[in-house]
């Protein structure tokens, strides 16, 4: 540790607050649930979350397609050829199974995996294909998590990002991410070093307020919502 010592630093804060020693704050009792909104006109439960998530994600400029689990490989290979993409980076996820690799191989698509070298990642990969851990319906956000099967850079460096998310992993609000079973539930364990909520393609309006997408991150985000 550099700089001031922890004791001196904290003592200055305590002094400023007029306290002599560490004290537990009173319980902050407020109902955070007032930020929850009635979910949507299309009903509660899973169908409501799917409808709301799809609407919100489209509103912030991402594309959303629905696809049944059994059709994922077919869907992806169709999409990749329609988009005329020749090199993809595939995360190591059960949703992106050997079937898909076979499909793509037949089409002559070059597949990079997690051991991709930086030169190829920056210069050749046209689309990163990853799997989101969750989706947030109220904001239309994808939740990407650092792990042993997905590169953080896979959803960042390539100009396009295709991301799968299971419909069953959609939660209603940001509040639910830290609830029981949520990705941010820190009780008794560590949370991943990086949890990123993606809410739209990379964008800027720095030059005269003109909206430009694809500044540093991907300019297009294609969501595939996987249903059972």
């Amino acid at each position: 540790m550099k700089g001031a010592s922890r004791e001196i630093f904290l003592e200055r804060v305590r002094n400023a607050l007029g306290r002599k020693e560490r004290s537990e704050p009173p319980q902050f009792s407020s109902d955070h649930n007032i930020i929850r909104r009635p979910i949507s006109t299309s009903g509660d439960g899973l169908s409501g979350r799917i409808a709301l998530f799809s609407d919100r994600a489209r509103e912030v400029g991402m594309s959303v397609e629905h696809c049944e689990r059994a059709q994922v490989a077919q869907f992806l290979s169709d999409w990749i050829s329609a988009e005329e993409i020749s090199t993809v980076l595939l995360s190591d996820d059960p949703l992106l199974d050997s079937d898909l690799r076979k499909h793509l191989g037949k089409q002559g698509i070059e597949i990079c995996t997690n051991d991709v070298d930086l030169d190829s990642l920056y210069d050749q990969v046209e689309c990163g294909i990853t799997v989101a851990t969750a989706g947030v319906a109220s904001t239309g956000s994808l939740v990407l998590v650092s792990s042993d099967h997905e590169l953080r850079l896979a959803s960042l460096v390539p100009p396009r990002h295709l991301v799968l998310v299971s419909a069953t992993q959609l939660v209603e609000d940001l509040l639910d991410l830290s609830g029981p079973g949520g990705v941010l539930e820190s009780q008794g364990g560590t949370i991943p070093s990086s949890v990123t909520l993606v809410t739209g393609p990379s964008k800027t309006a720095d030059i005269e307020g003109v909206l430009v997408t694809g500044v540093h991150g991907p300019g297009t985000v294609q969501i595939v919502l996987v249903t059972d």
Binding site: G3, R12, L174
Partner: protein, 489 residues
């Protein structure tokens, strides 16, 4: 230097941070004459102000006020118990493998960053947007230590290569137009001249990608620190923040201590308000919740994560209960967009990293009232800033409080006597009526045949220097009411 004595960049644009004491008035006068600037700032701020209202109404309807009160209460609770939450955050962050450093002054913060960079032999630093590092002037320090440092937010990058300074908390280059960007890229990057925002963005993208690949150090700021988990939260739109915190092997975040919040439920509330208030987006494109360096099983990410906690005058604000609520600020920029004075004077007039109403409050509190005696005057107290603030900071109230403080220190004898007399006159009905009759009489004498006072005499001339004073009605409301047979108690 231009004739007004304000240092300028290559574009003839004034830059920030005048040394020593400074006065907003002469600076504002320069910017008021710049029609292009006026138009650009008016348009951008009006647009964002409307986007904020629409986004909040659409998301929360009539509950906006209630949610804003909750957000204000969360931040107030945290700063009221900052000692506890800071300690909790430090424990949790260290448990997650983050190296935590503490800086009492701005200089100490810079020194810590430079030392880490030197220890690790860093040569190239990519940096994402951060207000606190503007406050501490970190970039020149890194450069002086021989570490090439590149701002990667598009606006900040352009400002850096143009030797300019940001003029808005969220839209740093609100004062620049596309032709100045085109000229800068042509001059510094050797790019073909183009004024197309798409093409200009692509030029910057390609240039900065090379930097991300080579950089061995990433520096960022932080929007929130979550005490419960020891996490750092960064909200960005372009993706450069993700690069700076993912690609290089070392990540250093420089964060003010007021960024603490207790837990993720609180984060949810504040995230719902931050981007909506700043730009009208539901969330920024990227919200990163970072907790420690890359874990052994994870595939990539920085090997080291450092957080430098910065005091730099914040405990001074904390110690003053009257102004403590200023530390609630989440730097969304909504008060700037809503402020009629910011819209006209524009960011650089404030001569500080923080402009607009919040700048007029925290600059004097952080940098010293004596060095910034006129900033709290730069407000019409219309209340638009308070209404726009997502964490319910009573900015007009704080500005009035600062004015009171300044008067106590700097007010002239004449002014003090005048205020005492005014206080006496206003405290009794009879004296109030006599005073208001006298006021009407004298103003009419000065105005003569005109229906306005164009120049008031002596110490009152300040009132009429920049505007005419309307005459009060010939007869007071009380008189007219009484004449019509109304009852007066």
């Amino acid at each position: 230097m231009n004739p007004s004595g304000i240092p300028t960049s290559v574009d003839g644009e004034p830059i920030l941070f005048p040394r020593g004491s400074h006065d907003i008035r002469p600076r504002a006068e320069v910017f008021l004459k710049d029609e292009t600037l006026q138009g650009a700032v008016r348009e951008a701020t009006t647009l964002k102000d409307r986007a904020r209202r629409d986004a909040l109404r659409q998301a929360f309807g009539a509950d906006v006020a209630q949610i804003r009160t909750l957000a204000g209460a969360i931040k107030q609770h945290t700063i009221d118990h900052l000692d506890h939450y800071l300690e909790q955050w430090i424990d949790q962050a260290e448990a997650a493998g983050t190296k935590v450093h503490m800086a009492i002054t701005a200089q100490e913060a810079n020194r810590i960053v430079v030392e880490i960079a030197r220890d690790e032999g860093a040569r190239l630093c990519v940096k994402s947007k951060s207000m606190v590092t503007e406050e501490t002037h970190l970039v020149p320090e890194l450069e002086a230590a021989g570490i090439e440092t590149v701002e990667t937010d598009l606006g900040e990058f352009i400002i850096q290569i143009d030797h300019d300074a940001p003029s808005h908390i969220v839209m740093p280059m609100i004062h620049k137009d596309r032709s100045s960007v085109a000229r800068a890229f042509e001059r510094v990057l050797g790019a073909r001249y183009t004024e197309e925002p798409e093409e200009l963005t692509l030029i910057a993208r390609n240039h900065l990608r090379q930097k991300y690949r080579q950089a061995d150090l990433g520096v960022s700021g932080g929007n929130f620190l979550v005490a419960d988990s020891g996490s750092l939260v960064i909200c960005t739109n372009e993706g450069n923040g993700r690069f700076c915190t993912s690609a290089p092997k070392i990540h250093i975040a420089v964060v003010g201590i007021e960024k603490l919040i207790p837990g993720f439920a609180d984060l949810s509330v504040l995230l719902h308000l931050l981007a909506r208030s700043g730009t009208g987006q539901p969330l920024t494109c990227y919200t990163q919740i970072l907790t420690g360096p890359k874990q052994p099983h994870e595939l990539d990410g920085p090997e080291q994560m450092h957080v430098v906690l910065v005091d730099a005058g914040r405990t001074k604000i904390l110690a003053d209960p009257e102004f403590r609520s200023a530390l609630r600020c989440i730097r969304c920029g909504a008060c700037l967009n809503a402020c009629p004075v910011y819209r006209k004077a524009t960011g650089h007039a404030y001569g500080s990293v923080y402009s607009g109403p919040i700048g007029a409050v925290i600059t004097p509190l952080l940098a010293g009232i004596d060095k910034n005696p006129t900033l709290p005057e730069a407000s019409s107290l219309c209340g638009a800033c308070h209404e726009a603030c997502p964490v319910d900071i009573d900015l007009p109230g704080l500005l009035v409080g600062l004015r009171r403080k300044i008067r106590k220190r700097r007010g002239s004898w004449m002014e003090r006597i005048a205020l005492v007399l005014l206080g006496l006159a206003f405290s009794r009905v009879v004296s109030y009526r006599i005073a208001s009759k006298l006021q009407r009489f004298f103003l009419r004498c000065i105005a003569g045949a005109s229906d306005r006072v164009h120049s008031a005499p002596g110490p009152f001339s300040g009132w009429t220097r920049d505007r005419d004073l309307s005459l009060p009605a010939r007869h007071s409301f009380r008189d007219r009411w009484a004449r019509k047979g109304g009852r007066i108690r």
